[in-house]
């Protein structure tokens, strides 16, 4: 690596090398039986090369190729338009890695859980008649970043994940329930928690009810709320701020949402799936308030957009592949949220449901990301939505679509958030949201 660094120093004005090495393994149950075991080892490098303020981005998984390809890096940069960027050598604290790396995961053998998984799958299948699938996996990333400012740091990050699905279908009525969780300690693997959730929902979901198209009071579960967060992620993106395509472009320090809304971007939470010591461009991890009591405090920036807009980098430069957001050395750094937290309010969920005569509780929403999200618009399928009638959940609403605009939903339409905030995949920490006048198409 020293040789490459030296060569890049000579040939470029600025450079950055990102290296990621991932080992992962998982077991999978399909049709109530253990059916797969996957293992993968992946490794690669990407280089950002700058000369005369012109950039190129080169990716390979072959280390020996790096020095041979500097000519091509320079070549591609030379035909690009000017786009300067600043790299930084900020101090990062690597002394305590317990928020993102757990020794116990390293030594944990997934296969040791097979008999327990067998039992869970069998029990769920017997109690519910549903076809059960289960996935249990672990990963370990090694990440290293070097740049021309002298930054040279590396860390290990690991984690576990568990998902259980139950499928109960008849002609004209397919029901698929799905629960998943990210885990940071093998001792915290809690099959019962997910099983109970599935059984509870299955009871209500078995009963289909109809609902008229119209506007209703709606309670969003944390999971449903997470599906529409893409609107805010897009609105708060420093890139959309730079291009002036976000509706929030002139709203810094102005009230944009209800004063009940405080949204925090945090890359330091213990066990968070997006918890890291530094972002994928070397900016130290931090907890940052994006929206405080409804007032816009900050956009999210990568190094590129910080340079473009003369702002400070905010540590939101990550290398996620599009759509599925898996981290990869092959992805160019772009703006992405870290772990997102919305602070809870005062609502007690049970009381809120009791107060609704005719409304909806959404457990799971899908597909909102396909709407015109930059303008705040969302529209998603109610994968699991329930009718609330006279204070009780009476059955599953089939074929419903919810739509709206986040800047109205979490503003004049927001009645309150729940007191309790739930861990949603360890990347969102969200409350339930009780909103008024939400548009439902059936």
């Amino acid at each position: 690596m020293e040789k490459i660094v030296k060569e890049l120093k000579n040939r470029s004005d600025k450079f950055e090398i990102f290296h990621m090495d991932t080992i992962s393994s998982s077991i999978g149950y399909k049709g109530n039986k253990l059916s797969d075991h996957d293992m993968s080892q992946e490794s690669g490098y990407s280089v950002r090369f700058l000369k005369d303020k012109r950039q190129s981005f080169y990716v390979t998984n072959n280390f020996d190729e790096l020095s041979k390809q500097i000519d091509e890096m320079e070549d591609i940069a030379s035909v690009s338009d000017e786009k300067d960027i600043d790299f930084y050598n900020k101090k990062v604290d690597l002394t305590d890695n317990r928020n993102f790396y757990n020794e116990k995961i390293e030594s944990f053998d997934i296969k040791s859980k097979i008999s327990e998984c067998d039992k869970v799958v069998k029990e769920l299948n017997e109690k519910s008649d549903a076809t059960i699938s289960l996935g249990l996996g672990k990963y370990r990333d090694k990440i290293q970043l070097i740049n021309s400012e002298g930054f040279n740091s590396e860390y290990f990050k690991n984690g576990l994940y568990l998902s259980i699905s139950a499928e109960l279908s008849q002609p004209g009525n397919m029901l698929m329930l799905h629960e998943s969780t990210s885990i940071f300690d093998p001792d915290d693997i809690n099959f019962n928690e997910l099983s109970e959730k599935i059984l509870k929902e299955l009871e209500i979901a078995k009963n289909n009810v109809s609902m008229e198209t119209g506007n209703y009071p709606v309670i969003f579960s944390p999971r449903a709320l997470s599906d529409i967060m893409c609107t805010l992620e897009s609105g708060l993106s420093g890139l959309n701020f730079a291009f002036k395509t976000t509706p929030l472009k002139d709203s810094l320090n102005e009230k944009i949402l209800s004063d009940k809304v405080t949204l925090i971007d945090d890359s330091t939470i213990k066990g968070g799936s997006r918890t890291v010591p530094f972002d994928d461009e070397g900016i130290p991890a931090r907890r940052k308030i994006l929206i405080e009591k409804g007032v816009l405090k900050s956009f999210m920036h990568s190094l590129q957009t910080a340079k473009m807009t003369d702002s400070s980098p905010t540590g939101n430069g990550f290398r996620y592949k599009p759509i599925f957001h898996s981290k990869s050395y092959s992805a160019k750094p772009s703006i992405s949220r870290a772990n997102w937290i919305i602070e809870g309010g005062n609502m007690i969920m049970d009381e809120a449901i009791k107060s609704i005569k005719n409304g909806v509780y959404i457990s799971m929403l899908v597909g909102s990301f396909m709407s015109n999200i930059i303008s705040g618009e969302f529209s998603g399928n109610m994968w699991l939505g329930y009718k609330i009638e006279n204070g009780k959940l009476v059955g599953r609403i089939k074929n419903g679509m919810i739509s709206g605009n986040i800047y109205k939903l979490l503003n004049e339409q927001l009645i309150d958030f729940s007191k309790n905030v739930e861990n949603e995949g360890s990347e969102y920490y969200l409350p339930y949201a009780y909103c008024n006048n939400v548009s439902l198409s059936c």
């Binding site: 109530n32 253990l34 059916s35 797969d36 075991h37 996957d38 293992m39 993968s40 080892q41 992946e42 490794s43 690669g44 190129s56 981005f57 080169y58 990716v59 390979t60 998984n61 072959n62 190729e65 070549d75 591609i76 035909v79 690009s80 338009d81 786009k83 097979i114 076809t131 699938s133 499928e167 109960l168 008849q170 002609p171 397919m174 198209t213 291009f243 395509t245 509706p247 599009p322 759509i323 599925f324 898996s326 160019k332 597909g367 396909m370 709407s371 015109n372 930059i374 303008s375 969302f378 529209s379 994968w383 089939k398 074929n399 679509m401 739509s403 605009n405 548009s439 198409s441 059936c442």
Partner: protein, 454 residues
């Protein structure tokens, strides 16, 4: 290429029922202009994918380093007995040996990166200069060259060299806080020159973006809709294609009943097939990632379920032959059941006749993507109201949704104007994104579709 498959298969084939080794090397170039920002990225990757099947269990490993392949095989052979409850078997297929070399017109690798960049930069400038109402432009170009060597312990050996190319352009217009996009896309596996004639598409994309900012939002509700061939194709891929993938069927007693051959699922006019045989299509496949030769597979004939998309594993569970639909996007993944070029077969109706019967409806054009399931959903790029048999006002933000089973039965007219639609991006099932696929369809008319206005 390292070509270590033959040696290792010979060494290990007696220690398990089935062993396959897939070696792949690929190289991509992407050029992207996003307003005034541009990027030009080169990506090279290569590695090995190994699968072991033994006594009912299947185990998969993917490694990058050649010296880890043998170690991975040993580990898989050790682990696979734990999985024997899975009941995994392979359908019986004849050993198949074939080599397919690159057969393309206008090799984009012969054009220097500088020249290529100029082509797409010009497109970007054209969008930016179209009108002051256009605020953002986006032009993407992607080319991938790959070579895949596959060998298994049954004597199948394949060698496939291929190209995948696509371009996407979009223009964003803003008016009074309303943001709208127009976009066009083109894809090919053989002819780069298709990327050189995008000027007209750019004009259309810019024009529609501006017109959409001035158009009313569609009213939510239930409509009779006509889908244009492009949207018809997205519809069949999302609304039915994924449901016909056997890996979502074979492990569920309920799905086996619902998707049983002979079941009436759609109207009499509906015939759906999936084919790997359209030359030049991004969905073209000479053989799949299990070395099974490609085919045209009928999924629905006149409304009745007539087949499914299979890998060798799912085919064995149903007691049929594989349809050659097992695809892995690259060496990092195991093959799973995927689509190729998925089509609604042409019928006999005309667009005129479809419009005649509609008092109030929606004529929907193209799409920005969708999701499947019992309840499917997809966006429309734009739509027009249909009033008393005539196409009238342009409306924005129409998103279509529906229950698969009722919708397939509500297709009451199928056009005589079948067209293949090649698009950029790809299918994202199982995280294996973007898998190159394509679609085909004529105009189709559907009753009672739920439309959301955002």
């Amino acid at each position: 290429m390292k070509n270590i498959g033959t040696k290792l298969i010979k060494k290990y084939k007696n220690r398990c029922d089935y062993l396959e080794i897939r070696e792949e090397k690929f190289e991509t170039l992407s050029i992207n202009f996003n307003d005034s920002m541009e990027s030009c990225n080169r990506y090279r990757n290569g590695g090995f994918a190994i699968r072991v099947i033994d006594k009912g269990g299947v185990a998969f490993a993917s490694v990058v380093n050649e010296n880890m392949v043998e170690k991975a095989i040993e580990e898989l052979i050790e682990v696979v007995p734990l999985l024997s409850d899975g009941g995994v078997k392979l359908s019986e297929e004849k050993p198949f040996v074939k080599k397919v070399t690159l057969n393309i017109k206008n090799d984009p690798r012969k054009i220097s990166i500088k020249e290529k960049r100029e082509i797409f930069k010009k497109y970007n400038e054209k969008i930016r200069n179209y009108s002051e109402k256009i605020t953002t432009s986006n032009v993407s170009y992607y080319e991938k060259f790959a070579r895949t060597l596959f060998e298994n312990s049954e004597g199948t050996k394949t060698d496939w060299e291929n190209m995948d190319v696509f371009g996407m352009i979009s223009a964003t217009a803003v008016k009074d806080n309303i943001t709208q996009r127009g976009h066009e896309t083109v894809g090919t596996s053989t002819d780069f020159s298709k990327l050189l004639i995008l000027d007209k598409k750019i004009d259309e994309a810019c024009d529609i973006a501006i017109r959409l900012t001035e158009a009313p939002q569609v009213e939510s509700g239930t409509y009779t809709v006509i889908l244009d061939p492009a949207l018809g194709g997205i519809f069949v891929h999302e609304a039915f294609g994924h449901t016909a993938e056997a890996d979502g069927i074979v492990d569920s007693e309920d799905m086996m009943k619902i998707m049983k051959i002979g079941t009436k699922l759609g109207s009499d006019k509906l015939t759906i097939f999936d084919s790997g045989l359209f030359p030049g299509s991004r969905g073209y496949l000479p053989f799949d990632s299990e070395g099974v030769p490609s085919q045209k597979t009928y999924l629905i004939k006149n409304g009745i379920v007539s087949g499914h998309l299979h890998s060798r594993i799912t085919a064995a569970k149903m007691g049929v032959k594989s349809s050659g639909s097992a695809r892995a996007i690259d060496f990092r993944y195991p093959p799973i059941v995927r689509m190729r070029t998925t089509c609604i077969d042409g019928g006999n109706d005309t667009l005129e006749d479809m419009l005649k019967g509609i008092k109030k409806g929606l004529y929907c054009v193209k799409s920005n993507g969708g999701t499947g399931g019992e309840m499917f959903t997809f966006t429309t790029a734009y739509a027009y109201m249909i009033e008393d048999g005539k196409i009238t006002t342009l409306v924005r933000d129409a998103k279509l949704s529906g229950n698969l089973f009722t919708t397939l039965k509500n297709i009451d007219m199928v056009g005589n104007d079948f067209k293949i639609y090649e698009m950029g991006g790809g299918c994202g099932k199982g995280g294996q994104f973007p898998l190159p696929v394509a679609t085909g369809s004529p105009h189709i008319r559907i009753q009672n579709v739920v439309v959301g206005g955002a």
